[in-house]
C-alpha cells in the first residue's frame, strides 16, 4: 500500500515538471492581460505545493496521479480549434432552457455564437472574462479564489476564460442561468471558472453544467458570494464522459441572512473529485446542500464537503447520496466546523449510500468539530444494499426483479432530484431522465 502510494507520488512529481515546462513555454495569447499577474502568482503557488499527494489526509482515497499525467500531456498538446460537430451533438441533448439564458463554453472558452443571453433580466450582468476590460476584470478577480489550494492555483495559472455572473441588489431572477462547459474530446486541459455574486436581497438560480465526450480533463473552480439576505439556488451537474477526469472546487461565502440551496450531481467521469466549501460568515446564514452520485464500472467519485459555521444562529443541512456498483468506488467526506461564538448553530448532515455489488466500495466520513456549547448538530451515514423485503414486495405485485431493483434505486436517487423540481421542473425532468439512463448499468 505504502509503496503503491509512493509510486503514484513519483508519477505526480514527474508530471509536475512537464506542467512547469508547459507554463514556461508561454502563456496563452487569448488570455486577457488583466489575468496575467494572477496567473503568474498562482503558478508560483502551485509549484510550491504541487499536485496533492496520496499521503495527504484529504487525498487518502483519491489519487490524482492520472489527473497530473493527463494535465501534463494535454497542456503540452493543446487543440487549436473546437470540434463543432461534436459540440453541436452534445448541446442538442440538453434540456430546452426554461428562460432562455444559456452561456456555453467549449474547451474552457466562451462561445458567443452558441450562447443566448437575451432572456437576462435587468440587474443580471453576465461577463465572460475574455470580454472584460481591465477594470472589470480586476474587480472580478478581487473576489475570486486564486490560489486557495493547489487545484485552484492550477486553474488560475492556466485560465484563459471564465464567466462572471452578477445579480444586482434586490433583483429576483426566476429563470435559470444555465452555464454549460462542454469538452469536445480533444486533448484539452480545461480550466472552467465561474464567479457568482448575488447582491443584497437578490435571488437567482444558476446551473453549472459540465458535459463532454472522450478522455476529457476538467479542473473547475467556482466562487460564490452571497450578500446580506441573498438567495442562490445552485445546481452543479457533472455529466461528463465516463472516460474523463473531472475535479472541481466551489467556495461559497454567505453573508448575514443569506441562503444557499446547493445540489451537486455527479453522473459522469472516470474519476471525479468535488470539493465544496461553504463559509457561513454572517449571522443566520443558511445552507441546504444536497448531493447525488452514481458510479458503475471501475469509476471513482469523491465528494468533499466543508461547512464553516462562523457566526451565531447559522444553520446548514447536508444530505448526500451515493450509488455504486461493479467495482466502482464512492468517497464522502463531510466536515462541519462550528467556530467559537457561533451559538445557536443548527447543523444536520446525512450521507446514505447504496452498495450494489460485492466489489463496490464506499468510504464515508462525516465529521463534526464543535468549539461552542449552544449548538444542535447531528450527523449520520448509512451504507447498505437494496432492501430484500422491498424487492420481494414489488415482485409479488408483478414487477420483474430487474425492474424492481431499478425502481428502488431510482426512488433513492429521485429524492435528491426532487429538490430541484419546485424551482425548475424542466431541469428536474431532465435530471430524472439522465438518472434513469444510468440505471441499467448500476443495477445489472
Amino acid at each position: 500500500m505504502a509503496t503503491a502510494a509512493k509510486i503514484r507520488d513519483t508519477r505526480v512529481t514527474a508530471a509536475l515538471a512537464t506542467v512547469a515546462d508547459a507554463f514556461g513555454a508561454g502563456s496563452d495569447a487569448a488570455a486577457p492581460n488583466w489575468l496575467q499577474s494572477s496567473r503568474e502568482k498562482a503558478f508560483a503557488a502551485f509549484l510550491t505545493t504541487g499536485f496533492p499527494l496520496a499521503r495527504s489526509e484529504d487525498w487518502k482515497y483519491t489519487s490524482l496521479a492520472g489527473f497530473a499525467e493527463r494535465s501534463a500531456e494535454y497542456l503540452h498538446n493543446r487543440p487549436t480549434g473546437d470540434d463543432d460537430t461534436t459540440v453541436a451533438a452534445l448541446l442538442d441533448a440538453l434540456p430546452h432552457s426554461e428562460g432562455g439564458i444559456r452561456i456555453v463554453f467549449v474547451n474552457g472558452r466562451y462561445r458567443p455564437d452558441l450562447s443566448t443571453a437575451s432572456g437576462a433580466a435587468t440587474g443580471v450582468v453576465l461577463t465572460p472574462y475574455s470580454t472584460a476590460d481591465d477594470a472589470t476584470g480586476r474587480r472580478i478577480l478581487d473576489r475570486q479564489p486564486v490560489d486557495d489550494n493547489a487545484l485552484i492555483a492550477l486553474n488560475t495559472a492556466f485560465l484563459v476564460d471564465g464567466l462572471a455572473i452578477r445579480v444586482a441588489d434586490g433583483c429576483r431572477v426566476d429563470e435559470p442561468i444555465h452555464v454549460v462547459f462542454a469538452s469536445d474530446g480533444q486533448p484539452a486541459a480545461v480550466q472552467p471558472r465561474l464567479s457568482i455574486e448575488i447582491g443584497r436581497e437578490a435571488d437567482a438560480f444558476i446551473v453549472q453544467h459540465h458535459i463532454g465526450t472522450g478522455k476529457g480533463l476538467t479542473n473547475a473552480v467556482t466562487g460564490i458570494d452571497c450578500a446580506e439576505q441573498a438567495h442562490l439556488f445552485f445546481v452543479r451537474l457533472q455529466d461528463e464522459s465516463t472516460q474523463s477526469i473531472h475535479v472541481a472546487n466551489q467556495i461559497a461565502h454567505m453573508a448575514t441572512g443569506s441562503r444557499l440551496d446547493g445540489i451537486s450531481i455527479d453522473f459522469g467521469a472516470q474519476l471525479a473529485r468535488n470539493d465544496l466549501e461553504v463559509d457561513l460568515s454572517g449571522e443566520r446564514a443558511h445552507a441546504n446542500l444536497f448531493g447525488l452520485f452514481m458510479a458503475s464500472g471501475n469509476r471513482h467519485v469523491d465528494n468533499h464537503l466543508r461547512v464553516d459555521h462562523r457566526m451565531p444562529n447559522t444553520s446548514s443541512m447536508e444530505n448526500y447520496r451515493g450509488i455504486v456498483s461493479d467495482a466502482a468506488r464512492g468517497v464522502f467526506n463531510g466536515k462541519i466546523i462550528v467556530h467559537p461564538g457561533a451559538d445557536g448553530t443548527d447543523a444536520q448532515m446525512s450521507n446514505r449510500n447504496l452498495l450494489l455489488s460485492e466489489r463496490a466500495e464506499i468510504d464515508t466520513k462525516p465529521e463534526l468539530e464543535i468549539y461552542t456549547d449552544d449548538v444542535k448538530c447531528a450527523h449520520g451515514s448509512t451504507t447498505g444494499r437494496l432492501d430484500a423485503n422491498s424487492i420481494f414486495y414489488l415482485r409479488a405485485r408483478g414487477i420483474p426483479e430487474a425492474d424492481a431493483r431499478m425502481m428502488l434505486v431510482a426512488a433513492f436517487a429521485q429524492e435528491i432530484i426532487d429538490h430541484v423540481r419546485s424551482r425548475a421542473p424542466t431541469l428536474a425532468t431532465y435530471l430524472s431522465h439522465r438518472m434513469s439512463q444510468q440505471l441499467p448499468d448500476v443495477t445489472q
Binding site: D387, A388, N389, S390, F392, Y393, L394, R395, A396, R397, G398, I399, P400, E401, D403, A404, M407, L408, A410, A411, F412, Q414, E415
Partner: protein
C-alpha cells in the same frame, strides 16, 4: 384452481410445513386459522415465492401447472396476489406508478398492449373510492407514513386494482379497528366471484364475521389438522385451539 399436496418446507434449517395438503376451487373462500407459529405465514410466503424457504417435498399445482419453479413476479402474472401481513414502506415509489407498472408487466406477459392511461385512472379512482381511501393516497409513496390500518387498506386496494384469480391475504385483519376491518372486508366481498378464490390467513375469527368463508382449516404443527365449514371458526372462537390439537393428537 390450487392443489397443495403433502407440502414440506423449511425456513433455514427448521422444517415449518410438514405435509400440508389443501385444495381450493374457483369461487371459494378458504380461511386458514391456527395458533402462532403453526406455519400460516410460511404457507402464504411459499405460495407467493418468497426467497428463504426451501420446499423439500410435496407439490403445489396452480391452474394445472407446477407453481413452485415460478418466480414471484411470474406467479403474479398468472393471477396470484399476496396481501402482506406487514406491508413494506417504499419511499420514492409512487402508489399509482407501482400499480401501473404491475398491470403493464402482467399485460406484457400475456401479450396485451399497455393499459390506456384514462382507463387506468378511472379504475384506480373507482377502487380507491370503494376502499374509502383519500385520492391523495394514490400519489403518495407506497405505504410511506401510512397508519397500520391504511397500509392494510392499501393492500386490498392493490388487490382490487390487480384483480387476481387467487388472493392470499396474510393476517390482513390484524391491527385493524372495527371500522377499518369492515372496509377491508367489504373490499374483499366486492371482489368475490365464481372465477376467483381467496385464501384468508388469520389468527382470529373476527374477520370471518364479515367475510363468510366456504371452508375453514386449522393449521397446527405445519399440517392441516381439521377442516370444516364456517361453524368451525365459531367453535374455535368459543373454545380455543386446544380441543382441536388434542383431537388431532388422539386420532
Amino acid at each position: 384452481m390450487l392443489k397443495i399436496d403433502n407440502l414440506h418446507a423449511n425456513a433455514g434449517d427448521t422444517e415449518i410445513l410438514k405435509g400440508l395438503s389443501l385444495a381450493i376451487d374457483a369461487g371459494e373462500v378458504h380461511a386458514i386459522m391456527g395458533p402462532n407459529g403453526s406455519g400460516k405465514s410460511t404457507l402464504a410466503h411459499v405460495l407467493a415465492g418468497r426467497d428463504g424457504y426451501e420446499v423439500t417435498s410435496g407439490s403445489v399445482t396452480y391452474q394445472g401447472t407446477d407453481l413452485l419453479p415460478l418466480a414471484p413476479e411470474e406467479r403474479a402474472w398468472h393471477g396470484i396476489f399476496l396481501g402482506f401481513q406487514y406491508p413494506i414502506e417504499i419511499p420514492g415509489v409512487n402508489n399509482t406508478y407501482l400499480l401501473k407498472a404491475a398491470l403493464n408487466a402482467r399485460r406484457k406477459f400475456h401479450g396485451e398492449p399497455e393499459i390506456d392511461a384514462a382507463q387506468f385512472l378511472r379504475i384506480i379512482k373507482d377502487k380507491a373510492r370503494m376502499m374509502k381511501m383519500d385520492q391523495s393516497f394514490l400519489n403518495r409513496s407506497v405505504n410511506e407514513g401510512f397508519s397500520g390500518g391504511e397500509k392494510k387498506r392499501n393492500e386490498v386496494f392493490q388487490m382490487a386494482v390487480l384483480e387476481p384469480q387467487l388472493a392470499i391475504l396474510d393476517e390482513t385483519d390484524s391491527g385493524l379497528d372495527i371500522d377499518a376491518l369492515k372496509v377491508v372486508a367489504a373490499g374483499v366481498n366486492a371482489l368475490r366471484s365464481k372465477d376467483r378464490a381467496f385464501l384468508l390467513v388469520t389468527h382470529y375469527q373476527r374477520l370471518l364475521d364479515y367475510i363468510e368463508p366456504d371452508h375453514v382449516h386449522v393449521l397446527a404443527g405445519g399440517r392441516i389438522i381439521k377442516s370444516g365449514d364456517k361453524t368451525l371458526a365459531h367453535e374455535l372462537e368459543a373454545q380455543g385451539y386446544d380441543w382441536v390439537l388434542r383431537e388431532a393428537a388422539g386420532a
